[in-house]
Each structure stands twice: as structure tokens, then as C-alpha cells.
Amino acid sequence: MIDARGAVHGPVHGPVHVVGEVVATKRIGGYRHLTLTAPGVPEAFRPGNFVAVSVAGHVARPLWVHRVRASSAFGPTLDVVVEARGEGTTWLAAQPVGAKVPVTGPLGRAFALPKEAVSCLLVGEGYAAAPLFPLAERLRERGCAVSLVVSAPDESRLLSALEARRSARSVTVLTADGSVGQRGTVTEHLDDLVRRSEADVVYAAGPHGVLRAAAAAAERAGAWSQVAVETDTPCGTGLCHGCPLPVVGEDGVDRVVRACAEGPVVRGDRVRWDAL
């Protein structure tokens, strides 16, 4: 709403801080998938956004959104993928159906979508590949030709690409140990994948090495790149300035921006990878 003086009183579709509820849980490989209700969050979600789930006595845990359902038996829901790495994520992964968790979101800058129906290559590794799945759906709705690559060190850390086959023209599965799909890593196959998909845009989500390789491969092929950078974001909302992301601004000047507020999605050619 905007008042007579032009002051902004709360954006219409901004993030919210609400009490959500775990309505379903699933263990898939090494990850825990949680389905949450969080009134107002799924409605405003765009692929690339993340949510912050508050853990009692801790700062919020940032989580990628794997899937959003506009309606279900529980109303609109969102799915997040949790890798139990520390105290907070272990607690979160152990939450049963019915547990109440405070959720803040959707947060951060989403993937920029092409205005025209172009070819898109989506490259992801591990649980951080999650935001590529809703992105694939959105791109397909726009008539884009989507090629999806999901990779992981091994099968237990691979997000299932089964459902993505509906939105993607081609799906490539890569594991470093060859336990499923082709053997190899994203970085080894990237140039080939960019060429075969004739990508105009490369979208990447995963560890920094994958993002950097994707940005470089896109650059070599003359394509745009959009990367979802995962860093520690203590608050997730932009308040604490605790998640420095070194970039080169539009004006060619080096800057340090907040990964949670000016990111997590940025143009791959803008990131100063060596300073990250």
C-alpha cells in the first residue's frame, strides 16, 4: 500500500514471517524433504527465492524451495530439502508431521526469466539444485526449451529428476562415482552440454565450483548465466549484512553485496569468484 505521501506501507507481495506447519516428511537418500504450510509464502514464491526457517535458540536456517503447490489438502504448500549438517539442520530434519516452525519468506532475488521462448540449460548439484525444479516448470510455461542436468557425488545426494521429465526436453543425470546416470562431474561435461542444448541462458545452482564453471562455460558460448549462490546467510532477510558476496556492479565497480538480499541469484559474470 502506498499512502498519500508516497510512503510504502508493506509491499503487496513481499515476504512474510509466519508460523508454518510440517504436513509431510520424506527421507530421500541423504536428504530430508519437508512439506510445509506457511500462509502467504507459496503464493508469493518465484523460483530462486528461498525461505528461512527459525530454529529455537538459533538464527534462521536458509532453505531452497524444491516445489510449490498452489493447492493441496492442506492449502498452498512448499517443499524444502534439508541436509542435516549441523545442530540446526539436524533439529529441522527431525521435525515430525504436525510440528510448528516459524518461516520467513519468500526471500532474495529470484531467477530472471527470459522474455522470449529461448533454449535454457539448467545445471545443478546436490540438494542446492532444488530451485531448478520450479524454475524448469516456469520456463516451460513460457515455451522455453529446457535441458536439465542434475548431478551429485553419489546417488544418495542426488535430487530425483523423475518429475522434472515433464518440464524438461532433456534430462541428464551425472554422478561422480557413476552410481546412477553417467559417470562424471558437471565441470567435465559443461561445454558439451551448453553446445548440445544450444543454450541462450545457463541457470546454475549448487556449490561454488559448479556455479563458476557454469558461468565460464556460458561466457565461452556467448550465453547469459544466472547463478544461485549459496552462502551462510545468518538472518536471510538483509538486516544483518552477514553474507558478503563480492561482485562487479553494472557500472564496472567492485562491490560487496548481501547474498540474501541482492542475491542469491545473480548474473554469473558479475561474481568475483576469487574473492568469494
Partner: protein, 278 residues
Amino acid sequence: MIARVPGPVMVAAGCGGTGRELVPYAGPGGLEGLDFVTRSITLDPRPGGAGPRLVEVPGGLVNAVGLPNPGLEHFLATELPWLVRAGAQVFVSIAGSTMGEYADLARRLSRAPGVAGLEVNVGAPDEVGARLFEVREPYHSASVIAAVRREFPADRPVLAKLRSDVSRIVEGARSCHEAGATAVVVGNAVPAAFPDGRSGGLSGPAVAPIALRCVAEVHRALPDVPVVGCGGVHDVASARAYLSAGAVAVQVGTALLHDPTTVARLRTTLAPLPQEDA
């Protein structure tokens, strides 16, 4: 006219982003009338420290964010006008590497439209405020306050944000007040270390009892000096503890990183205290 002391609920320096990030969680009135202390602004831009800038410890956070800010020029051109337009009562936190820088900041800000007051950051833990004017003795902070006060109109408040050091706080508060501070804010993050030994500042509920003790000491020794309590305020009870100990206002910081709606909730619960222009 003597400057009004803000409150009873303020946003603590460095925990409200640029203000914009707080809007979605500020309630139906937005930032209208909110006493908002900006992150510390320096004359020149500062990129801030390397990561990790914050780590969790039981009961709080250790930070060495390093005062990232776009510098005074950019702040005056973009962030300040936005905050003023949003209706916030803007208290600009200032930090300088020399006494002259503090005076420059105060002079420039005294001419900027919409600045409700200043908060002088004179007690930042070493790593947090790397390359800042070193304040070790109460007369250091007092001379900074005096330099700022000379450049800033007397009818607008200048707050001195001090470190919660119980052995020095009364002396520090007295000398800052004598040097012209409208109120003292107690306190800044407590000097601490990251698990890897790097220096930083501890904030959050873990420091509340320390800050509360300091507030009580200052109020007992200097009942005429307005004190703003800051440290671990996260709900009505923790805010009331400071107010009962003699604070005229509280600042909310670290709690916003856990729950960004904290300020909105406290503002609706804690009605403004009656204040005379004493």
C-alpha cells in the same frame, strides 16, 4: 528546546539493514514513526570484513561484520531520503577514524533534511570497528561527543553508544553526558572471540544480564542521565527489565535476525512513556 529522547522501542544500529528490508515485517503502519538507528555510517565507503561475519554461540551471536556501509555521500543521496519518506525517525549512527571525521559527519548530517538525531558509535569491539578512532578511556569518548555536539543542533538528540563494561560504564556515561550527549545507549556488543580465536563482539540474550547491570549502575549513580538499554531485548519481559532498571527506552538488535517482526510486536505492546521536555 532540549532534544527529545527517542523510544520506548528503537531499532539498534546494524540490525535493521537499510530500513527497506524491515518494511515487510513492520506491521500495517510500516516504518511510520519508528525510531530507527541506521547501521554505522563512515565518511568513506567500507566493504566490511571477510566471512564468516557472524557465528552462533549459545544465547547469542559473535560478529565481526566490520561496519559495511556505502559511505556518507551515498547514504545522503539514497538511503536517508528513502527512510525519511517512509516516515521513520532516523537516528544516524556515525563512526569515524579520527575526531575530525566524527565532526565532519555531524556537520554534514546536521544539514541533511530529516535526520532526527545522531548515535555516536564510540564503543565498538576492536575487530568490528577496525580502523576506527580508538576509544579506551572515558575522556576519549567524551571528546568525540563534544566534537559532534559542536556541529549538531542542540535541539536534536545525540546519543552516545558505549560498551557494557561494568567497571567503566558510570564514568563513561558521566563524561559523555557532560560533553553534551542527550542520552547514553548501553551497550554495544561485548568484546569476544570467534571459536577460531578471531576477535569479535558478542550480542543477544547472552549479554543481557551484563548490559542490564550497566544500565542499573548508571541509573543509580546518574539518575538525571537518560539511558537506553540495548542487549538481548527480544520480548516484552526482556524490554521491561531494562525499563524497570531505569532505562527510558530499549533498542532491539540481534532478535531481529531471528524474528524480524520483533520490533513491530514490541511497539504495539509497549506504549510510549510520558516524556517531558525536561
